[in-house]
Amino acid sequence: MSNKPRVAVFDFACCEGCQLQIVNLEEEILDLIGAVDVVEWREAMSEQSSNYDVAIIEGSITRPEDEERLWLIRSRAKVLIALGACATIGGINKLKNNFDLRDVKKWVYGKDAEKPHLNTELTRSVAQVVKVDYLIHGCPIDRKEFTYIMRCILTGKKPEIPEWPVCVECKLKDNRCLWETGQTCLGPIIRAGCGARCPSSGFRCFGCRGYVNNPNINAAKDVIERYGLDVEVLKRKMNLFGSGNTQVTANG
């Protein structure tokens, strides 16, 4: 057995798109699997293991049995990483928290809604259930940031994740502000680190990386007013990724 850290990847309620970003690392995937021993990763291999140092968790926690499984993983892992928006802030899955759960089940499952295996609870991020050591934000995650954080973990270094809003990276990309084009972009209150991926392609920031530590709500209201918009418009835009409390930090 090698001395390389043993890494396991697990998924909960998610689309597995963030894991796909890891699979799609191209040359860097070889560097990554050269530096670690991957012992479990359902999306990429058939082996399973209960012996690992680093657990990478994708997805949000929506069922009682998820919580139990997550606690078990936490007890086995030295380092636990929340991967992607579902895991870090609850993600799009959290939308359902805005409605009555019985209605939600009915809409989704129709006449099967009350079957026990379709049981569902309010969506929680991983950090709302167990202690998380590192958060890798985004929907999906940014590959460059993922490899940077992995190299930090492997060298015992605390990664430096931006504390500032997306506007910084957007301006650095030499973009025109999307508010000028009539889009209600969430960039000014959302944590950077994505390289302003969406605004650079002409799409407003949807807020997938969660709020900055200290978002200025006064400023947001002021801007909404100045652009002749309704605060409800902003709230609706924020709901996609911002239902419930999305301001989380790694507590490791």
């Binding site: 050269g34 500032w164 650095l172 200290n214 200025n216 801007v223």
Partner: protein
């Protein structure tokens, strides 16, 4: 130094020839705005632009640059950019900003990373033809420029007056098909420059730029900082688009061998949360209003102390347009102080 006249056709030929042998970054449209980008043909060049999204400072202080690399044994090696390039279409206010940054990076401690790029650059500046929506360079006395450029172009309708500012510019200009600029050409140029000194003024400063340090001397506790900062996102956009903001962060990263790597510097901004945070988490300027004030004091007082009194806001107006809550406009802030505190 020579002052020549060059017809538009001769200028296009000159540029197209330059592109064959040199890297030329020229002003071109980007969507509905303008930007410095690698120039493929003279016909893509838009010297009638109003203002570029980002100022040209990124050609000397890139948004991210590698200062050093280190090997697996922890030995460091400086990393320099050695590429020669031509920057084509720099407006006077941006040229003034570059002149200021040259002083900042060469004074006291000589920053070879910046200065190498600066010395490798040939700057062809041009007088403004289309004032931008928020320009106020005239208020700052920076609507025209007399130094720093290698060549200064002024569009006089049927061609350009091209003035060489350096030997490098002289030699370059010699490659173009020119005639000596005559009196009439120079009159036209003077007229355009005088007009710019009046017209590049969408926001009018109520005092002389030289009054600003004294004004700020008396304004430290003025309520304007708190009032404006109430709606500040701390997004640093005013820093990022500013041609005279040069603060930076430095960060190390490992390569995948987990031993070698690089040390990089990236643009930073004094408005951003965490800018003054020290290891151990104490943050010295944690208050938004204090950070907001700091920027104005940098532009109007602190940096000028390093620049023989020249104000470090050149009136490009970029921050005015970049600030979503519309609080960054230096003219509005300085005028408010003039109104409330008067001039001494």
């Amino acid at each position: 130094m020579s002052i020549k006249k060059i017809t538009k056709q001769a200028f296009a030929n000159f540029i197209d020839n330059l592109i064959k042998t040199a890297t030329v970054y020229g002003v071109q449209p980007k969507g509905e705005r303008f930007d410095f980008a690698p120039l493929a043909s003279a016909k893509d060049l838009r010297l009638d632009y109003d203002v570029t999204l980002l100022p040209p400072k990124r050609f000397f202080q890139p948004t991210t640059e590698t200062l050093l690399t280190f090997d697996g044994e922890g030995r460091y090696k400086s990393n320099f950019d050695n590429e020669n390039f031509i920057l084509l279409g720099v407006h006077p206010y941006d040229m003034v900003a570059i002149n200021q940054m040259d002083k900042i990076f060469s004074k006291d401690y000589y920053d070879e990373h910046y200065m190498k790029r600066r010395n490798n650059a040939t700057i062809i500046a041009c007088d403004v033809l289309t004032p931008s929506e928020n320009v106020f360079a005239a208020s700052m006395g920076m609507a025209t420029v007399s130094e720093g450029f290698d060549i200064l172009l002024t569009d006089i309708g049927d061609g350009y007056v091209a003035e060489a500012g350096t030997e490098k510019g002289n030699a370059l200009l010699a490659k173009a098909e020119t005639t000596d600029a005559n009196e009439k050409d120079l009159e036209k140029r003077q007229k355009l420059q005088q007009d710019n000194q009046k017209n590049l003024n969408k926001h009018k400063l109520k005092c002389k730029p030289s009054d600003i340090p004294n004004l700020l001397e008396r304004a430290y506790k003025h309520p304007v900082w708190e009032e404006k900062a109430k709606t500040c996102f701390s997004c640093g956009s005013c820093n990022t688009v500013c041609p005279t903001c040069y603060c930076f962060n430095v960060q190390d990263s490992f390569n995948w061998d987990l031993k070698s790597g690089k040390r990089q510097r990236t643009w930073d901004g004094c408005l951003l949360d965490g800018f003054t945070k020290v290891a151990g988490e104490h943050e010295f300027r944690s208050n938004r209003a204090d950070r907001f004030r700091h920027r104005f004091y940098r532009k109007g007082k602190y940096v000028p102390e390093k620049l023989n009194g020249q104000i470090s806001c050149v009136g490009c107006g970029r921050c005015v347009g970049a600030c979503l809550p519309d609080i960054a406009n230096p003219v509005k802030v300085f005028n408010r102080l003039v109104d409330d505190l008067g001039l001494l």
